[in-house]
Amino acid sequence: MTNEELNEQYELFVLGVAEPEVADEIRAKLAAGDPEVTQGVALARALVAGLAFTAPEVEPPDRLRKKIVAAVSQEPQTFPRWFWVWATATALVAVVAFNFWQREQRKGAEVAEMRQQLIAQAAELKTVSQLLEFLNEPELKLTTFGTAQPTPPRGRVLVSPNKGVLLLVSNLPPAAQGRIYQMWLVPKQGGPVPMGLFQTTAQGTALHVRPGTVDLASAAAIAVSLEPEAGSTAPTTTPFIIAPVAE
């Protein structure tokens, strides 16, 4: 058909009542972008839309509006796309912030642990240094204890008149919570003199140094007892280590 012949068919085509062969031809020309047919169909669509006005006007019952609105109001509300974008972004920021916080927490714990290790190493270094100083002392007195006992503890005591007392102990379990080991200098005359508090390691060893001067002539023994955590001015329990100071 020519476009002139099709011109009479555009409205019928839009209404969906054109004969099949006519509809096919219009559809083909629309697909090919025929400007005349495209414009004709657009104008026909405008006319057909207006044909609704030729129906006698009737007011619908009000219940119809309520029914329609009620039907869609029962739907679960959905959020606009911007909301989901915002929510996703917020969640991502929260996850990143949480990870950052966790990493900082881990770093803080690692730093604290390293600081403790450094302190412990410094203490060990100091002890080794004191030990070397002790060993270099010309008037060093050495005694052992516990060798005759079937059970621990065992160890050695080094007494220097110029450097003080050094106690090496093994097989001594750590004191229970709230308790601590206390070293004593037991003189030949008078009561025991406090020589410092110490705790053993998980392996049951300890190296305790009490710097100072010691009068070897008046010293009878070095003793260790179990005391309250704050320490005591005099033994509150019977000393379980008594190492005589050799003359």
């Binding site: 476009n3 002139e4 011109n7 009479e8 409205e11 019928l12 839009v14 209404l15 969906g16 009542v17 054109a18 004969e19 099949p20 509809a23 004709g40 657009a42 104008l43 669509r45 405008a46 006319l47 057909v48 839309a49 207006g50 044909l51 609704a52 006005f53 030729t54 129906a55 006698p56 006007e57 009737v58 007011e59 619908p60 019952p61 119809l64 509006r65 029914k67 329609i68 609105v69 039907a71 869609v72 109001s73 739907e75 509300q77 959905t78 606009p80």
Partner: protein
């Protein structure tokens, strides 16, 4: 006369419908409800059925609005196409008519067909002009247009129903369209010469 329909705020209302705002559908109903109901009632001639089909029309638009271009599309014509299709489908189901062009009917309500149309496509003034022109058609011309628009009959089906030669039906149809096109100020060079019978 029908109230003002398309307006500058239609794109905003469409956007709200896409966000599933029930108030937006109510606004659409306030504008188009009477026209849609009147059109459907004219086709099915049963008030209860018209109510059901009107509800179906608005819910169909609600469910398919995501595919509608709110900025370029013309909502009113799209809604009316849905309404007419629902009514014609109902009519055919009652009549037991199996139409060769049933696919054509349903595809005519695709939202994509209602973009870039005339800005003044569906306002009351155009409706008034078209209605006046429709009333000026002679009985034959008006009858074939009503059969096409309100009953969804092709020209060959009209010829059989009216017991008239197909050529006569085509002449009446061509004449009717010429009058209606003229009422809308269209000046198509290819328009036929016939003024109707």
């Amino acid at each position: 006369m029908f109230a003002a329909l398309e307006g500058d705020d239609i794109p905003v209302i469409i956007a709200r419908m896409k966000r599933r705002d029930p108030d937006a559908l109510e606004e659409v109903y306030k504008r188009f409800g009477r026209l849609v109901f009147s059109l459907i009632l004219r086709v099915v001639r049963d008030s209860a059925v018209a109510e059901d089909l009107t509800q179906e029309t608005f819910l169909r638009a609600w469910n398919r609005v995501q595919g509608f271009d709110g900025d370029r599309g013309k909502f009113g014509p799209w809604l009316l196409a849905i309404a007419r299709n629902r009514a014609i489908d109902y009519l055919r189901s009652v009549d037991g008519r199996q139409r060769h062009n049933s696919v054509e009917i349903s595809s005519s309500e695709s939202p994509l067909l209602f973009v870039n149309l005339d800005e003044e496509l569906l306002n009351s003034e155009r409706g008034r002009r078209l209605r006046t022109a429709f009333e000026q058609l002679n009985d034959h011309q008006r009858h074939v247009m009503e059969l096409a628009y309100f009953e969804g009959l092709s020209q060959s089906e009209m010829a059989a129903k009216l017991n008239q030669p197909l050529g006569t039906i085509k002449t009446w149809t061509r004449a009717a369209l010429q009058v209606l096109r003229a009422a809308l100020g269209e000046n198509r060079n290819a328009m036929g010469e016939s003024t109707g019978i």
